[in-house]
Subunit: 209 residues, 2 copies
């Protein structure tokens, strides 16, 4: 979905340990800025995924408007569902992009973030997964879940909110993907069969005209 | 989502008894074409919702390319999920629209069409709805369900398929809605509370640039 990054200026929101930043640098980006809220992760990024054209900056995504340069590509991997003010962030990203620039982000699938009580699979009498317990899809907003630690806060948004937020910020929707394992993978690893009931991830690509 | 229809040429796909066609005519459309696969419904439309600027045509949506005129607006209410070749229909509709024209359609929500065994609510020990039994969201394609009669065939598509189909046909996505009853309605009619777990309808507006 990203296309060629050669010669492009790229911003990575929530870059973590910087593995993607290093890839983008190696793929020909002329400049890569990676931001993350975790200073600890950035120290590892600086140690393990350094390059002359990569700059790591310690800041929350909510502060991107303080970055004083423009980009051709903004990417974000599995971070957008932690942002409280999605609409504002999109406006900031739109301002940071050059005309023709693209935003590509992945996040937890809206069906994963929906249940107020957390994502849950229901098993049948045979002990196998029968279905996904869907609740609260249209009750958008804050979710408090356990992930590694208790009390992680994320935000559930419907497909409409995600799409309309981008359009209202001025973006043109280019592509949407809800990836699932291939039939071959599922045959080899049957535990992934349930992803066909409910995908885990959503990827959206949008363009600044 | 439709905006003003005054002075516009409008095509209604799956017009049924023609109530919407009459509304559009009364709202100032200069021409309304309503098509439906049911000759019986069109006879009632002709009898009850006739107007000099409305023309009813008996044809399946799949044959719209045989219509030899252009439109400013194409609407379709709860019919799109019966169309087998969505991508082809969108290409045909794109060709029928004038530049700047819009397509607005509603359909069953993808979470409603998803389960191969049909939409189903699971109740708790208290007899109240606990959750929606979500399965098969990523298994797109044919669904055979009972609705008034047995063996009704419809087609399940993911959000990605719906969005990408429009984009690939040349449309620009303008807006998406997943309407649910208001808090006031739910207080008055608590049986609609479950719509907050899973909406029933999806509405998409797209524009021909």
């Amino acid at each position: 979905m990203l296309g060629s990054v050669a010669g492009k200026r790229l911003l990575d929101l929530g870059c973590g340990y910087g593995e993607n930043c290093r890839c983008f640098s190696q793929m020909g980006c002329i400049r890569v800025v990676g931001i993350d809220i975790s200073q600890r992760m950035l120290e590892i990024a600086q140690a393990e995924n350094r390059a002359p054209n990569i700059q790591y900056m310690n800041m929350p995504m909510e502060n991107v408007s303080s970055i004083d340069e423009c980009f051709d590509i903004v990417v974000s991997s599995l971070a957008m569902h932690y942002v409280q003010n999605y609409d504002l962030l999109l406006k900031d990203l739109y301002a940071l992009l050059n005309p023709g620039g693209i935003l590509v982000f992945s996040q937890e699938h809206p069906l994963t973030t929906a249940p107020l009580a957390g994502a849950k699979w229901i098993k049948g009498a045979d002990g196998k997964v029968d279905h996904y317990r869907l609740t609260d899809y249209s009750r958008t907003g804050k979710r408090t879940v356990s992930w590694m630690v208790d009390g992680v806060i994320k935000y559930h948004r419907t497909f409409s909110e995600l799409i309309n937020g981008l359009i209202n910020a001025g973006f043109v929707i280019s592509e949407m993907e809800e990836p699932v394992p291939s039939a071959e993978t599922i045959q080899r690893l049957p535990q992934y069969m349930k992803d066909l009931h409910k995908p885990n991830f959503l990827i959206i690509k949008a363009k600044k005209p």
